[in-house]
């Protein structure tokens, strides 16, 4: 970029709408320090942590996700954006707990046994957190016993499983069968995702839905929560 196209900017000189737009833009560009600075300024101005998270951060990551899906952004750019969002969430997380922001559900998520790939899974976890879910991230190489134990302990609404390898994705079926054996299958909505998966595979193994990316995971989870809420209201 040439000097003619850029100048110096003090984020504090921006009004709120401009600052939110600038945070989204910095998130898109993976500028971690600038995103955190923008978030801190909004906090100083009295913004609620929940509003910063949903309007500035999640809104920005939605654009990143869409452009990734459209082949405009690639893995490194998404990772830089995700790292920037993570840094901002580290600032907001304690404040969210402190202010008792509304949580809409709980999710347990992990990469299945034999698989150590967690980039996509971690982005899903972060976006679900941004959408108002409490997220228990079990990490990588998670076996059926660990999933079952976590479901019993945390009683999540959503169980998310991720796999990047064609060789490990069948293990998701093992976990779903284990849930059924323990009588827990109907207690949780099972969402699956990962590069080699598709909707047919999700259906074949008995998952409730396959989600192609983090944005779809959030939408799907919210839709299931709404249905559950409606069922309870009409019961």
């Amino acid at each position: 970029m040439s000097d003619a196209e850029e100048d110096d900017l003090d984020l504090r000189e921006l009004d709120d709408d401009e600052l939110v737009e600038q945070i989204q833009d910095d998130l898109y560009d993976g500028l971690k320090d600038e995103v955190v600075e923008g978030v801190e300024i909004l906090l100083e101005r009295g913004w609620k942590p929940y509003d910063i998270m949903t309007k500035a951060l999640v809104g920005g990551m939605d654009i990143v996700g869409k452009d990734f899906g459209d082949g405009i952004l690639f893995v490194p750019e998404v990772l830089l954006s995700a790292n920037a969002m993570k840094a901002a969430m580290d600032v907001l997380r304690p404040l969210l707990a402190e202010t008792g922001a509304e949580r809409i559900g709980t999710m347990v998520i992990g990469t299945v046994k034999g698989d150590i790939h967690d980039i996509g899974k971690n982005i899903v976890a972060m976006m679900m957190e941004g959408a108002g879910f409490d997220v228990i991230n079990l990490g990588i190489n998670v076996d059926a016993d660990q999933f079952i134990t976590a479901v019993k302990e945390h009683k999540p609404d959503i169980l998310g499983m991720s796999a990047l390898l064609t060789t490990t994705m069948p293990y998701m079926k093992t976990v779903i069968e284990a849930l059924a054996e323990e009588g827990l299958r109907d207690d949780v909505v099972v969402l699956v995702g990962g590069a080699p998966l598709n909707a047919d595979f999700g259906k074949a193994i008995g998952a409730d839905a396959y989600c192609k990316d983090a944005a779809e995971a959030v939408q799907t989870a919210k839709a299931f929560m709404q249905r559950r809420h409606n069922r309870r209201a009409s019961a």
């Binding site: 970029m1 003619a4 196209e5 850029e6 100048d7 110096d8 900017l9 003090d10 984020l11 504090r12 737009e21 600038q22 989204q24 833009d25 898109y28 560009d29 993976g30 600038e34 600075e37 654009i63 452009d67 459209d70 082949g71 405009i72 952004l73 690639f74 893995v75 490194p76 750019e77 990772l79 830089l80 790292n83 034999g114 698989d115 150590i116 790939h117 967690d118 980039i119 990588i140 190489n141 390898l165 064609t166 060789t167 490990t168 590069a195 080699p196 998966l197 598709n198 595979f201």
Partner: protein, 260 residues
């Protein structure tokens, strides 16, 4: 002098916050129509640039990932009289969603050119069955066995047997060692953003070099790659594994067809 810190200054694009997005969209449109991509191949297949219909009548074609070019050329060296090789961009390794339609476009072009037999030298390569669906739709064209090149170079059966042992292994073939800087370091922006090394490779413990050749220079390069990624190093000489078996079988079959 004041005790108040000076406001932090930062760069901002004059053209507005969405300028970079627009630049990237334009670049994506350009990429979609660049030579060697699915859309460009499809266009070429129906244009005057494509070979005349039937120009390759009776010959056989291997459509391959560019990462296999060197090895396949070696394997078909005795069969060049009736087998051609066309390679698609090796960088699709990083964007496997582009593989199925890119392969389909090249298959259709090959059919127009009159190729009698076609073989696709790809594994599933992270397409999640989408490549197999395309190959089925295009008339049941065969591909290399297994999920990816690490498996068929090692030998699929052998590779699958050791999945658990290798769960934390990051594999590089000779090609990937040779092009480590462009495909991995620059491809993942590890040179400008070294913090991504931990994000991308933090869960691996060993870089396993699946060697096709005995090449000390390449071995040194693989060791450097392991150091760069903060991983232990292991070399396994695997040769061409199931790639050789599959290509030699195709060459043999097409050779007898050509003689008929």
């Amino acid at each position: 002098m004041t005790n108040e810190p000076a406001p932090r200054k930062r760069r901002r694009r004059h053209a507005g916050p969405s300028a970079l997005r627009e630049q990237r969209r334009a670049a994506a449109r350009h990429r979609a129509h660049a030579p060697g991509t699915g859309k460009a191949l499809a266009k070429q297949a129906g244009s005057s640039k494509a070979l005349e219909k039937g120009a390759k009548s009776g010959r056989s074609l291997i459509i391959a990932c560019g990462a296999l070019a060197r090895d396949i050329l070696f394997l078909i060296r005795q069969h060049r009289d009736h087998i051609d090789l066309h390679c698609l961009p090796a960088e699709w390794h990083n964007t496997p969603q582009r593989i199925p339609e890119g392969v389909r476009a090249r298959i259709r072009q090959a059919k127009e050119e009159g190729y009698a037999r076609i073989f696709v030298a790809y594994g599933d390569c992270g397409t999640g069955g989408a490549l197999d669906a395309v190959l089925g739709e295009e008339g049941g064209i065969s591909r290399l066995p297994g999920p990816h090149c690490y498996a068929f170079y090692t030998g699929v059966e052998n590779f699958m047997r050791h999945l658990e042992r290798d769960a934390r292994s990051y594999f590089l073939t000779d090609y990937l060692v040779r092009h480590f800087d462009s495909l991995i370091v620059k491809g993942l922006k590890l040179d400008t953003h070294p913090e991504l090394i931990e994000t991308c490779f933090g869960n691996y413990d060993t870089l396993v070099h699946l060697a096709q050749d005995d090449d000390p220079a390449l071995e040194r390069k693989a060791q450097e790659a392991a150091r760069f990624l903060n991983l232990a190093y292991e070399r396994r000489y695997v040769g061409h594994g199931d790639l050789a078996t599959a290509i030699e079988r195709f060459a043999g079959e097409t050779s007898s067809k050509a003689e008929e």
